[in-house]
Amino acid sequence: MEQEVREKPKLTPAQLKKRRNQRNAWLRAGIQAVFFFSMPGAFVAGFSGVKNIFQRIGAGQTLQWNSFVSALVGLCVFTVIFGRFFCGYVCAFGTLGDFVYWLSGLVQRKVFHRKKQLQIPAKLTPWGQKVKYVILAAIIALCAFGLYDRLSGWNPWSVFSFFMALRFRLSGYWPGLVLLLLIVTGMAFRERFFCQFLCPMGAVFALLPQMPFAPLQRKPEQCIPGCQACKRQCPVDIKLEPDGFLNGECIGSERCAGVCPKNNLTRWDRKLLRSEAAAALVKAALFFVLGVLLGLCRFITIR
């Protein structure tokens, strides 16, 4: 990259930064696309681990170490160490959300000539983000009381997995399809609508004790007074309090780091590898290996 800088001296620092941000955005989209097609069931398998544990407790059975529980533990350990990289770069539902939101913005700009994308009011964000905990508790209760399997037709993730397998016969799954359509509608009017408001696995991740070094670190004393660039970029409205980045809601979009005029947001992996792109690629490769070992990849079977 430094070489390119010397070859094209005409670019201003601001232009270089813009170019770098665009590259990182494309890299993220590329990684997301790879995982979207190779591991679309990762999030559901991990959450099925939660369901499996509580269904067995409800039925009075002994807990069992199976592929769903190992997927859950694998996702959780990865998240404790690296923060919610899984949410930001891997999860198929997150990728779907990003795609729908981007498409909605494009349509609103080009077709309806709106300058600003129509949004669900930010005032509702803190309340909305609590909803996922209610959903998590409700699903755990349904599992523990043995009622969950009776509601299988309501499961929007099942319908999503149908589509991913290119199956379009949805007999019995109409309530699930309606819920999925509602979720996709929400995704169009709020970035990461599902992830921050509804995702029960996101609730599990947010409750995990992520290592203090896992999220991006900000040194408030080095900030430009009054600058709120990172906060305005944040898809999940994280506050600028000193420990705001530790509250578990960060989904790892890493957009704040790109927009910061003083490059005041960084993390150990980015410092170590001296490159944001390399840090993302290394973590993606690590997760890919983990996912294959956990049996989450559609194309590779390991016994």
Binding site: G41, S67, S158, A165, L208, P212, L246, L296, C297
Partner: protein
């Protein structure tokens, strides 16, 4: 208080893990007791059946040959059967071997369309169907489609 949040969550997580471990220890003891009870019940039932069979053997001493033929044969016809069902990502194929009229062995010959993490759970149904001597078993929660594919394939073979 940068670490307060982390420590609170760590303690909560340890609490949850502690609860699950405590539950597991209780459940293991309970499962062992249940197994013991079931073994005792099975022993008594086996004894009853033996007595019953002796009694019936005495009753049907006249046409002994017929009774023997009936006792030896299970509900299925001997042979090796292939079956196919639709799983999550394509066909699931099985080979069912019937020996002595009973399901002796089920071999899954094709499951490449299933996601490994889901298929591994559904695979437990193979043993369940051999034990049940039928395809009438419940699907594994979370791996419904792979389960249905397997059950369908075995049903087709039978």
């Amino acid at each position: 208080m940068k670490l307060g949040n982390f420590i609170a969550k760590l303690l909560s997580l340890l609490l949850v893990i502690g609860f699950l471990m405590y539950y597991q220890s209780v459940a293991v003891v309970r499962a062992a007791a249940v197994e013991e009870n079931e073994a005792a019940i099975a022993a008594v039932e086996a004894h009853n059946r033996e007595v019953q069979q002796e009694y019936e053997a005495l009753l049907r001493a006249a046409d002994e040959a017929e009774a023997e033929a009936q006792a030896a044969e299970g509900p299925y016809v001997n042979g090796v059967y292939e079956g196919e069902g639709t799983g999550y990502g394509g066909a699931v194929r099985v080979r069912v071997e019937i020996v002595g009229g009973y399901i002796d062995h089920i071999e899954v010959t094709e499951h490449s369309g299933e996601d490994p993490a889901y298929y591994m759970l559904a695979e437990s149904l193979v043993d369940a169907m051999v034990t049940a001597q039928s395809d009438q078993v419940d699907t594994v929660s979370g791996a419904t489609f792979s389960s249905q594919g397997l059950i369908q394939a075995v049903g087709h073979a039978l």
